[in-house]
Amino acid sequence: MPLGVFVEGLIQAIRLILTGNPEVLSVALRSIQVSVLSTILASAWSVPIALVIGLKNFPGKRILKTIFQGLLGVPTVALGLFFFLLLSRSGPVGFLNLLFTVNGMVIGQSFLIAPILISFTTSAIESTDVEIRDLARTLGASETTVAFTIARESMSGILLAIVAAFSRAIAELGVVMMVGGNIRNVTRVLTTAIALETARGDIAFSIALAIILLAIVYFVTFLVNFVQRRVR
């Protein structure tokens, strides 16, 4: 009875939210924490990279853009495996003890979502009227100020890139499962909890978690749309 299970899941989701179930709350907050931190971390280096790619002409620019576009579809489980091997005790950076930690998950996810941020932000910057750059320059702006001006003018597109990156981070399973290990009260997040509960056969609880996950994604999307309207 898929519909029945769904309705049961929906009712359970509402009940879990309204009663403030500590397990659900902890998992949901950890999901938000990991995704927000990975989005901030990735934005910190991806947006400047996108500004350079979008504003400068250099040999190999097209190839670089193609590489980042290709990475948009990287299988999360493959990237998770890569970070698992990298961070495991015998791996090259195993001494950092990041495997099965929130910090490890944040780093892994930031690499997963960086191509989204770089590709979308580059595209937003390149679609900004080229005359805006000339306008800033003819009014006396230095190249750094021109870059800031273009970033501000492309803010609507950059916000879209950030929300897409956040949504990818909060909804993905591969990296958080492989790097985090789905440890209860430590690294368990919404997606790993859904996978676990489904495997255990508690479909209604899984649906409840999935609905919470969707609610977070939509809330962030609406919030960004609101901000975008203000920016415009």
Partner: protein
């Protein structure tokens, strides 16, 4: 301000395309100079180079006897683009952009913004979104934004192209005022001969990346007549003592001059006879082409026809009405050999 701007041996290439060819020109400090010429003649490229937005492939821009690199030029000169461009902010923030870069305090900035908005007739527009204004208002904002930073050299690319008459008049008045009252060296590119005559004390004519004539505004009516049909070509000897000048696209003009080699030719529009049928006449040059444009000139009509190269002819309104030509009509252009003015390049 008396900033003399000298363009010295400036050439510029876009890939294989030579946009400017060894241009030499002096723009007098505090004067308004107009650059006129057809599309693609290099006017905008020259303005962009003087503005420091592009580095010339060869040559230098000298301001007050010092060669300046593009960065220097950007602090001296500012360019108002042909198409209105505005930051996606309020009018106030658009105007304050250059002032913030120059470190002005809030009250000075506010005072300056109010002043320049008043100059362009947009008082009270501070809080409006710049991109939501009409085309004419946006172009006035562009001019105000350029004036706000008190440029030593003001560059304007087709400042009133596609503007409503009120905005065009405001723009022209402001250019005159800025030049007279502040002594700002002003260089404007224009298609509009009347505007060049009204605003500029000197007019330079560009054709295919070269300055082919510089005249004072007083000579401009003469210039206007002469420079409607300007072509670069190569003159060679033909049969029976005539000279053949190839002006591109296999269009060859027969003339009576004796100059050989690279030349510039010009033909006054009123010297060109337009006919719907081939004429039996003594004229040496007859070309068949299609009408591309017809514009009202009071009792006359200015016709443009493409015969491989585009020629402009001036005919009476009566002839125009009788011939019943429209855009796309086949016409014959007839030009006497003696009507073609030839100068050595």
């Amino acid at each position: 301000m008396t900033n003399h701007v000298e363009v010295r041996q400036v050439s510029h290439k876009y890939g294989q395309l030579e946009a400017l060819k060894k241009i030499n020109m002096i723009f007098d400090g505090g004067e308004v100079t107009a650059l006129i010429g057809p599309n693609g003649s290099g006017k905008s490229t020259l303005l962009r180079i003087i503005a420091g937005l592009e580095k010339p492939t060869e040559g230098a821009i000298i301001v007050d006897e010092k060669p300046r690199d593009p960065r220097d030029l950007r602090s001296i000169a500012t360019l108002v683009f042909q198409r209105s461009v505005a930051f996606n902010t309020s009018v106030y923030d658009n105007l304050a952009y250059g002032l913030k870069l120059r470190g002005l305090g809030r009250s000075q900035m506010s005072e300056k913004v109010t002043d320049v908005l008043r100059m362009v007739g947009l008082e009270g527009f501070e809080k409006r979104r710049a991109r939501r204004l009409s085309g004419g208002e946006q172009q006035r904002v562009s001019l105000a934004r350029a004036l706000a930073i008190d440029p030593e050299v003001l560059l304007l690319d087709e400042p009133s192209a596609n503007l409503d008459p009120r905005s065009a008049s405001v723009v022209e008045n402001v250019i005159t005022r800025v030049s007279h009252e502040l002594g700002t060296t002003t260089i404007l590119a224009s298609h509009n001969m009347g505007q060049a005559r009204r605003l500029a004390s000197k007019v330079a004519v560009l054709e295919e990346g070269k300055i082919v004539d510089v005249s004072t505004s007083g000579d401009l009516l003469e210039t206007f007549g002469r420079f409607q049909n300007i072509f670069s070509g190569h003159a060679v000897s033909g049969d029976s003592g005539i000279t053949l000048i190839e002006i591109g696209n296999e269009v060859k003009l027969e003339t009576t001059n004796t100059i050989r080699g690279p030349v510039t030719v010009s033909i006054r529009p009123e010297e060109i006879v337009v006919s719907k049928i081939p004429l039996q006449s003594s004229a040496r040059n007859v070309f068949k082409g299609k009408v591309t444009e017809a514009s009202d000139r009071g009792n006359n009509v200015q016709l443009k026809a493409d015969v491989g190269r585009e020629f402009t002819a001036l005919i009476t309104r009566k002839s125009f009405d009788e011939m019943q030509v429209t855009i796309g009509s086949d016409v014959y252009l007839v030009i006497k050999a003696q009507a073609i003015q030839v100068t050595e390049q």
